[in-house]
């Protein structure tokens, strides 16, 4: 690091002029504008915007810019896991481009390669968002074979991948007749809005959906021959092949295991990342979910004491509870996911 600090004195612009660009607002705007965008992809898009706003030219400047902007993004949100997976993927892609062999096996300078990749990334900013959506369709195509005629699928939350998968499974495809299946949607009281949307979308397609409260999940799973599989989405996929997903996923996974049901996760590959939680409270940020109280309710104007639980809490489901992932790279076991992350991200 000493060498780098020395170099700072050379005419390398320490902070390439980003002028008024603020990556956090850009990120929030991207997410708000397009409800179909996932957090990792929004982070990548925001980084690309930052890249095109800046005048960074050299490898060092670019990487430095990406690092500082990523850090700024991370600091601005309470749960940075998913967006970190996006920025890590972006960074890794650029780093690996430096190691690429040149065209036709010729040794070109890594700088040339880097420049090509950088240009490509900046040119194709919008492409990635549409690709991410295509990935969802791809997952739907992979997963539909797993939803069979007469099945009952238990799911929860408002995962867009799961919604797409179930929606496509209900449609006939040439050479594959349409199938009839039903869905049990576990609704959590606090966050029913997104669940309602998913339920309505499925019912519109003619899929019979039953909604049950979270407290009834074990009861429903206990009915013989009813639920054939549990299918959930994920916010982020960890390096060991587990998932970080909306609160309540872990208990569904435990219940599925207890009842001997298969537990599937539908997730795009850009959600894979280096996070490696050892347990529920090792996600790298505090959700303030546990708030012990006794006696009277605390006074209003006492913000120091009051816990501030996170708006959209998540939990961690370890890989041993996951049967398989439906990804845009086919069906992967948790170990296969782990291998993929280790191969590329380290």
């Amino acid at each position: 690091m000493a060498g780098i600090t020395q170099e700072r004195e050379l005419p390398i612009r320490n902070n390439p002029d980003l002028e008024s660009f603020d990556i956090v607002t850009a990120y929030r705007k991207l997410l708000a504008d397009d409800p179909d965008l996932t957090m990792p992809v929004a982070a990548i898009e925001a980084l690309i915007e930052a890249l095109s706003q800046s005048s960074a030219k050299t490898v060092f400047e670019t990487m430095d810019l990406i690092k500082t902007q990523s850090a700024r993004l991370r600091a601005a949100v309470r749960n940075p896991v998913a967006l970190t997976h996006g920025t890590d993927l972006f960074q890794q892609y650029l780093v690996l481009s430096l190691k690429q062999p040149g065209p036709d096996g010729k040794e070109t300078s890594s700088h040339e390669n880097f420049e090509v990749v950088r240009q490509h990334l900046m040119r194709n900013g919008r492409l990635f968002a549409s690709r991410a959506k295509q990935a969802r369709e791809h997952i739907a195509a992979v997963g539909r074979a797993y939803v069979r005629d007469g099945d009952t699928v238990l799911t929860h939350g408002g995962s867009r991948v799961v919604g797409t998968l179930l929606g496509r499974a209900a449609e006939p495809v040439p050479g594959d007749p349409s199938r009839r299946f039903q869905v049990i949607h576990v609704v959590s009281e606090g966050r029913s809005a997104e669940g309602d949307r998913a339920v309505a979308a499925l019912r519109d397609r003619g899929v019979p959906v039953a909604t049950v409260p979270e407290s009834a999940a074990a009861y429903v799973l206990g009915k013989l021959h009813l639920v054939s599989m549990v299918l959930v989405g994920a916010e982020a996929v960890t390096a060991n092949g587990g998932i970080i997903s909306r609160m309540g996923t872990y208990q569904l996974a435990l219940l599925a295991r207890a009842h001997g049901k298969d537990f599937y996760v539908a997730a795009e590959q850009h959600k894979f990342g280096k996070t490696f939680p050892l347990h529920q409270f090792d996600l790298g940020f505090d959700q303030d979910m546990i708030d012990f109280r006794a006696g009277e309710a605390p006074e209003e104007g006492d913000p120091e004491d009051a816990k501030n639980p996170i708006g959209d809490p998540v939990d961690y489901t370890p890989p041993e509870f996951i049967t398989a992932f439906f990804s845009d790279n086919g069906v992967l076991t948790p170990t296969a996911v782990a291998k993929q992350v280790i191969d590329l991200m380290y």
Binding site: Y93, V142, G175, D176, D262, K339
Partner: protein, 427 residues
């Protein structure tokens, strides 16, 4: 799983004899009917028959480019899988052959790019399975990370939309002979054809050598004084134990099909003789009372009909109960099966692997009242989930279930892994 009995019906050998003289389509149809009538059965026979008939397709059919050949193989493959959907090895072999064609074709393409004479190419035998280091005709698409072949798909999100760099900004990269076509029209179909045929021959050799290779690991798993339980031992298991018995003394408990008990001749007579001649003890167990024996048993060895990518095993009916009993008492369960039985197919539903067969063993068809009023089902193959299995021993050695996906990545091409051979055939 045993060798086909009776000489009157056409079997594998007869089928293989007729291959040369018949036109391809007739051979395919003949094989389909044989598979449907279960006149060719057992994973090894099915695998060999499939490989042989695909070899005929490659050799005799008229095809002008790689895509056409791949399409043809896929079509034939679909038909064969439809004929016997429970035998996963048929799909495995079809996918292996498809992967082989793709490998040879891409090697071919690189040769053209490198301007080396097409005749003098030394192609690696596919069994070595070296990932060809693509001398990147593609610009920085990150597609050239050989061993990461499967993993790099994580970057598909960010990869260049078309591998051809746009001429304006990246003209220095565009000098390669990047062709938009996936597989360029090969200048010598003949060379490709002979390579593919050689490759299929090697797959057949591999299948035939599996038993021999697996038995080399017997010493590692079977120790003197062990109590080994086997279930209706297949030839693979028999040879495995016979090899061990030639050096060590141990006890083998053979669980036999109780319905076979009234048949006077012992199907395992020669196996028994081979074991006892080395001083080992053989005990026959009629299917009941497994738990009682299990406390003495050290290891359970099962022969696989097929192994799924998640580690589940398709076994002869009855073996699942043994696996469960072994797990209940903490005994080791070892599954034997060639690499060709490891299936990239990841259909989840256990029912899909259960095969029902003729119940004539249990109910005589002459018994009119029974036939008329009682529904008798006889399961032929059933599914053992991966939690009940400790180790998989293939011709490449021992594997844990976590690394089966590595075997699949080494032996199958990504494009074929996800190719649904069942497509139209599923209800």
């Amino acid at each position: 799983m045993g060798p086909p009995k009776g000489g009157y019906a056409p079997d594998l050998d007869k089928f293989l004899d007729t291959l040369k003289s018949r036109p391809v389509d007739a051979s395919v149809d003949f094989l389909i009917s044989l598979l449907k009538r279960r006149q060719i059965q057992g994973s090894e026979s099915c695998a060999i028959a499939t490989a042989r008939v695909l070899l005929q397709v490659v050799a005799k059919d008229k095809w002008i480019d790689v895509d056409q050949l791949i399409g043809r193989i896929q079509l034939v493959g679909r038909k064969l899988v439809a004929a016997q959907p429970h035998e996963l090895v048929i799909g495995n072999i079809v996918k292996r052959v498809l992967g082989l064609i793709r490998d040879e074709a891409s090697e071919d393409r690189n040769d053209i790019a490198n301007d080396s004479p097409p005749g003098g190419t030394t192609t690696l035998p596919p069994s070595i399975e070296t990932v060809p280091v693509e001398k990147s005709i593609r610009p920085p698409s990150l597609a050239a990370f050989g061993s990461f072949a499967r993993s790099q798909s994580m970057f598909t999100l960010l990869s260049d939309p078309d591998f051809i760099p746009s001429p304006s900004s990246t003209s220095q990269l565009g000098s390669g002979s990047s062709t938009p076509q996936r597989y360029p029209q090969s200048t010598n179909v003949q060379a490709l054809k002979s390579e593919v045929i050689d490759g299929i021959e090697e797959i057949v050799d591999e299948i035939r050598q599996v038993d021999e290779q697996i038995q080399n690991y017997a010493d590692i798993y079977i120790h003197p004084g062990d109590y080994i339980m086997v279930h209706q031992p297949s030839r693979t298991v028999q040879r495995f134990l016979t090899r061990a018995a030639s050096k060590r003394k141990f006890t083998v408990l053979i669980v036999v099909d109780p319905s076979a008990s009234h048949i006077s001749d012992d199907p395992y007579a020669s196996f028994r003789k081979a074991l006892t001649s080395g001083g080992s003890t053989v005990v026959n167990i009629m299917n009941v009372g497994l738990m009682a024996y299990m406390s003495r048993v050290d290891k359970v060895i099962l022969g696989a009909r097929a192994i799924t990518s998640t580690g589940g095993v398709v076994v002869d009916s009855g073996a699942a109960a043994i696996a469960r009993a072994a797990r209940e008492q903490g005994r080791t369960v070892i599954v034997l099966g060639g690499v060709y039985k490891v299936s990239p197919d990841s259909r989840s539903h256990q029912e899909a692997f259960v095969e029902w067969g003729s119940p004539s063993k249990y109910v005589n068809f002459a018994d009119g009242r029974m036939v008329g009023q009682v529904k008798v089902r006889n399961v032929v193959a059933e599914f053992v989930s991966s939690e009940l299995v400790n180790t998989y021993v293939t011709n490449l050695g021992a594997h844990s279930k976590d690394h089966l996906h590595g075997i699949i990545a080494d032996h199958y091409n990504d494009e074929d892994v996800n190719f649904d051979l069942f497509g139209k055939t599923q209800r």
